[in-house]
């Protein structure tokens, strides 16, 4: 098999099913998504403690299961794609339909995904309703194979650059690699400085933005990160939606 795995476990999945385990430890969904995508649909429906267990694989890119009989390590280098509604009814901040949830309900719903987890997600994007004009238009977008070509080229650049650190993608980079490879040009530097000061970015968020800007520059085939790349990366930072 050469195609990357895509796993979409249901939110009823047990901790052991997601992370791996059992008295005879077996790999869980995070390991089955190794080198591919772990898609968690309706993220807030997952049990809070199940989601928190994702923190170790995010940081270490592997899962360690300890049993009396011994400790077993499974690789778990995956990219998480999550989806969620903004509130229990789903229409908070929708321009057309009114949200029927109370402010506290919205708050509680969004609180289900903890701050540390939010912090570990590089890209936050809103998916609004699609207007009729777009839905009915016959204009087709760019095909997947074209995008795939761009993605492959960007990944190749990263793999060559990160070879010495035995990493494959920008998401794997630690602070050391980031200092070495996250070079901003003068305009990028200005932009980043303004962002950190005015948006009060935490050091971790700063690193996330820089990593993301690195990838955006890679997609364009550029060695230095420019202001436009930083600006786009900043758009994908998490936003407090309510309360």
């Amino acid at each position: 098999m050469r195609e990357r795995p895509f796993r979409s476990p249901h939110h009823g999945t047990s901790n052991a099913g997601l992370i791996g385990g059992g008295s005879w430890p077996r790999p869980g969904e995070v390991s089955l998504a190794h080198r591919g995508v772990l898609f968690l649909d309706e993220l807030p429906e997952f049990a809070a403690n199940t989601l928190e267990m994702l923190r170790q694989p995010f940081e270490d890119r592997q899962v360690t299961v300890a049993r009396v009989s011994g400790t077993v390590t499974f690789p778990a280098s995956f990219m998480l794609i999550g989806s969620m509604n903004p509130c229990p009814c789903g229409f908070f901040s929708d321009p057309v339909r009114e949200c029927r949830c109370g402010a506290s309900a919205v708050h509680r719903y969004q609180k289900k995904i903890s701050g540390p987890l939010i912090d570990r997600i590089d890209i936050h994007v809103e998916v609004p309703r699609v207007e009729y004009e777009k839905l009915s238009s016959s204009r087709t977008g760019i095909t997947s194979s074209v995008i795939r070509g761009r993605v492959s080229a960007a990944r190749e650049r990263q793999a060559i650059r990160l070879q010495g650190a035995s990493m494959l993608t920008n998401a794997d980079m630690g602070p050391r690699e980031l200092t070495e490879f996250g070079k901003l040009d003068t305009s990028g530097e200005h932009m980043m400085k303004a962002a950190v000061n005015q948006l009060h970015l935490s050091p971790r968020r700063y690193h996330r933005v820089l990593k993301l800007a690195r990838t955006i520059a890679d997609l364009e085939g550029l060695d230095d990160i420019q202001a436009a790349h930083v600006a786009e990366a900043l758009q994908y930072r998490p936003r407090q939606m309510a309360g």
């Binding site: 898609f39 339909r97 994007v125 809103e126 087709t140």
Partner: protein, 256 residues
């Protein structure tokens, strides 16, 4: 008489060599398995007995002791059936062969057909590391086993086939990987061009794919979040050989 056959356990994703010693001696007839076997390994006695009988062999009239070494490692699963059956046949002098350089794995059905074994890549790669030269694996698992270089992989269809091969009556050809027919699931998925609107989300997912970044989509029901996520594999590049091997190993251990 005593016979030894090499087999393999899987701990996590790594193989551990298991030596199967079979002794046929005086005593009440029966097969006794020692060496921390779990329930599935205990039950292999019954499968081995029937498989031998239905493959034209005979179960020795005496006490058959099977030891799985190292004795302190728990043995799980039915993959020890084939090596135990072979050990019994060797120990009762129904087969004459030197098995010191061979790995044997596989589950047996009552009629002697060899069934799929999970974790075959981990086992065969261990065998290659340990310098073994032959691996007898279930026929269905041979393409997977052949991903490992450095030793000959023999696809075994039935217990009788293995016996005929070892006695030199009807040799099994070592497995040669042919042109692999890739079954692509990508072509069945929604293409990005078929999803209307949401250009900025597609852009975000392209960046996520390019750098393997985590992404979270938030929006009202029905706006296409799930559809966009499910289209992700269509924009991800193929894995390198090294990556594919890592992933195949995990799926092999899970028996998927």
């Amino acid at each position: 008489m005593l016979a030894k056959v090499l087999s393999c356990a899987v701990v996590g994703l790594d193989g551990v060599l298991v030596e199967e010693e079979v002794d046929v001696g005086q005593g009440l007839p029966g097969i006794f398995v020692v060496g921390l076997p779990d329930a599935a390994v205990q039950e292999s006695r019954e499968r081995v007995r029937s498989a031998i009988r239905n493959s034209g062999g005979r179960v020795p009239l005496g006490k058959v002791t099977v030891n799985l070494a190292p004795a302190d490692l728990k043995k799980a699963g039915p993959t020890y059936d084939l090596p135990i059956a072979l050990g019994v046949l060797l120990a009762s002098r129904q087969v004459y062969a030197d098995m010191s350089d061979a790995l044997v794995v596989g589950e047996l059905s009552l009629d002697g057909i060899v069934r799929h074994a999970p974790g075959i890549i981990s086992m065969v790669s261990l065998a290659a590391q340990k310098g073994l030269e032959r691996a007898f694996v279930p026929a269905g698992d041979a393409p997977e086993a052949a991903l490992i270089q450095g030793l000959k992989v023999y696809p075994v269809r039935t217990l009788a086939d293995l016996v005929n091969h070892l006695n030199g009556e009807l040799p099994i050809e070592p497995f040669e990987p042919g042109p692999s027919e890739e079954s692509s699931y990508i072509s069945d998925l929604t293409d990005f061009s078929e999803i209307r609107g949401q250009e900025h989300v597609k852009r975000a997912l392209e960046i996520a794919a390019a750098g393997a970044h985590n992404a979270l989509m938030s929006g009202p029901p029905g706006s296409g979040k799930t559809m966009l996520a499910r289209a992700m594999p269509t924009i991800l590049p193929e894995m390198t050989i090294q990556e594919a091997l890592e992933v195949t190993k995990i799926y092999s251990v899970r028996g998927l």
